[in-house]
Amino acid sequence: MIQVENLTKTFDQFTAVKDISFQVDAGEIFAFLGPNGAGKTTTIKMLTTLLRPTAGHIHLDGFDPWVRQREARQRFGIVFQDPSLDNEQTAYENMELHGILYHIPHRVRVERIEHLLRLFELWERRNDYVKTFSGGMKRRLEIARGFLHTPKILFLDEPTLGLDPQSRNQLWTHVKALNEKEKTTVFLTTHYMDEADRVAHRIAVMDHGAIVAIGTSAELKARTNTDSLEGAFLALTGTSLRDEAASSTDAMRRFAQMWQQKR
């Protein structure tokens, strides 16, 4: 379903993603793990047509997203790391806007919006502005929206960041159920090892822009001789903190972008 070959992204001097290749099968739940700044989000952005790769090939359901952009876009849904809802519109209007952008016929749209809003327990609040929603409700709405056009692939970039355990639990239950029912391929990134352990069929560990290991949770544990995924993760990526390095390169990248814009 997703095929990536020798994908590379370079920002000026800094290489965020170094020559990665992997494959995700149809109906699979595939998790991307890695410390901050490992290149997970950059990879997702390239897969979802938001960032042009420096080199390499991507195929989503057989379509190269940089050649057959619209076909590829129609086939995936995405929940971004940070919210992407329109706060000034109601939950229902956000769903409807999405439905129209994704060419869903009127009758299907109405039915499916109701079905998904009920599933994610937002139906009662459908006519409230999104700006009045809590973080968890916004997340649920975004995931419901991501499923609206029955995508073949759903990208989830740290979907549970900042959610309480109840919301996290419920969210993964729904994602798993929809994965089984609608055969949606799910590509996710997370920092919570227990989540990856619980929902993902296969896991790739990314560090410094490269994939250091790929396999099932059991395979990763066996390979590193550890008894938990967290242990395996630390064995693969080391215990040193990345926050500092990552955030300063982020800041530099942002500064470089600003500067380029103003030039």
């Binding site: 952005k45 938001l50 995405i78 992407s84 060419h103 814009q261």
Partner: protein, 265 residues
């Protein structure tokens, strides 16, 4: 087509939902109209130039449309900040449709604001009048109002598209502040909205002729007060203003579509 419509609808809904904003954004032009209109009135009259309120009312209508439309385009910055922009960037529709819907929505809102400002001007004592051969005030000319709306719409489209181009390019709020000072205010002050373009110092005259808003204001003023007022009505002529604005609208729309299609996040 669905994408253009839904993006247009979003802008219009947003406008009607913030009623306080509608009033607030009329405040500044109204202040200009009353303070300058009545404040400079006696001097203007003494200089033998006629009624200043009559002269500047089309200017503040243009100002209202300029501010409203250019900000609608720059609202893209807010969408970038709050994330909604990404939802439209990955949608399986040509980005041209997204930007067209947004821009037309912003232009619709700005035109409505212009219309409201025209009503404020009428309440303040402004009257559209007919041209008169002898150079004396003619009779009231209400037919001019719908014709003036053509220019309101053109100004709205030109600057909504300009705002969208800028909004697609800059990424942070500091940039926004800078543009406000170095783009929007000069466009307004150098447009002939507040003073006649006749007998200006040469350099200022060149600059005003390069300002797109000049032609919009000229069209509005020409249509609304004709040329009775000591030749302070038309500076150019109807066709020139119309064609120039239409051409600029096409250029800016194309530019904004191109810049928007290149956005990466």
């Amino acid at each position: 087509m669905g994408a253009i419509y839904i993006m247009w609808l979003r802008e219009v809904k947003r406008y009607f939902r913030s009623k306080a904003q509608i009033i607030v954004s009329l405040g500044q032009p109204t202040l200009y109209l009353l303070a300058l209109g009545f404040g400079f009135g006696p001097v203007f009259a003494k200089a033998g130039a006629g009624n200043y309120l009559q002269f500047m009312a089309p200017g503040v209508i243009g100002m209202t449309v300029l501010f409203s439309s250019i900000f609608s385009g720059m609202a893209m910055l807010w969408d970038r900040q709050f994330g909604f922009l990404k939802e439209t960037l990955v949608a399986p529709v040509p980005r041209l449709h997204i930007i067209l819907g947004r821009t037309l929505g912003g232009a619709t809102v700005a035109s409505l604001q212009g219309l409201l400002m025209l009503i404020v001007c009428l309440i303040a004592g402004f009257r559209p009048v007919q041209a008169h051969a002898a150079g004396t005030p003619g009779s009231h000319n209400w037919v001019a109002v719908p014709v003036a709306l053509i220019f309101v719409a053109l100004i709205a489209i030109v600057f909504a598209a300009l705002g969208a181009s800028v909004g697609s390019t800059i990424k942070d709020m500091q940039g926004f502040q800078m543009l406000m000072n170095f783009l929007v205010m000069p466009i307004f002050f150098l447009s002939g909205a507040l003073y006649p373009l006749k007998n200006l110092p040469r350099v200022l005259s060149w600059i005003t002729h390069a300002d797109p808003l000049t032609y919009g204001i000229d069209g509005l003023r020409g249509v609304l007060i004709g040329s009775w007022q000591f030749n302070y009505g038309w500076q150019f002529n109807f066709m020139l203003d119309l064609c120039l604005l239409a051409a600029l609208a096409a250029i800016f729309l194309t530019t904004s579509a191109w810049l928007f299609s290149r956005i990466e996040v």
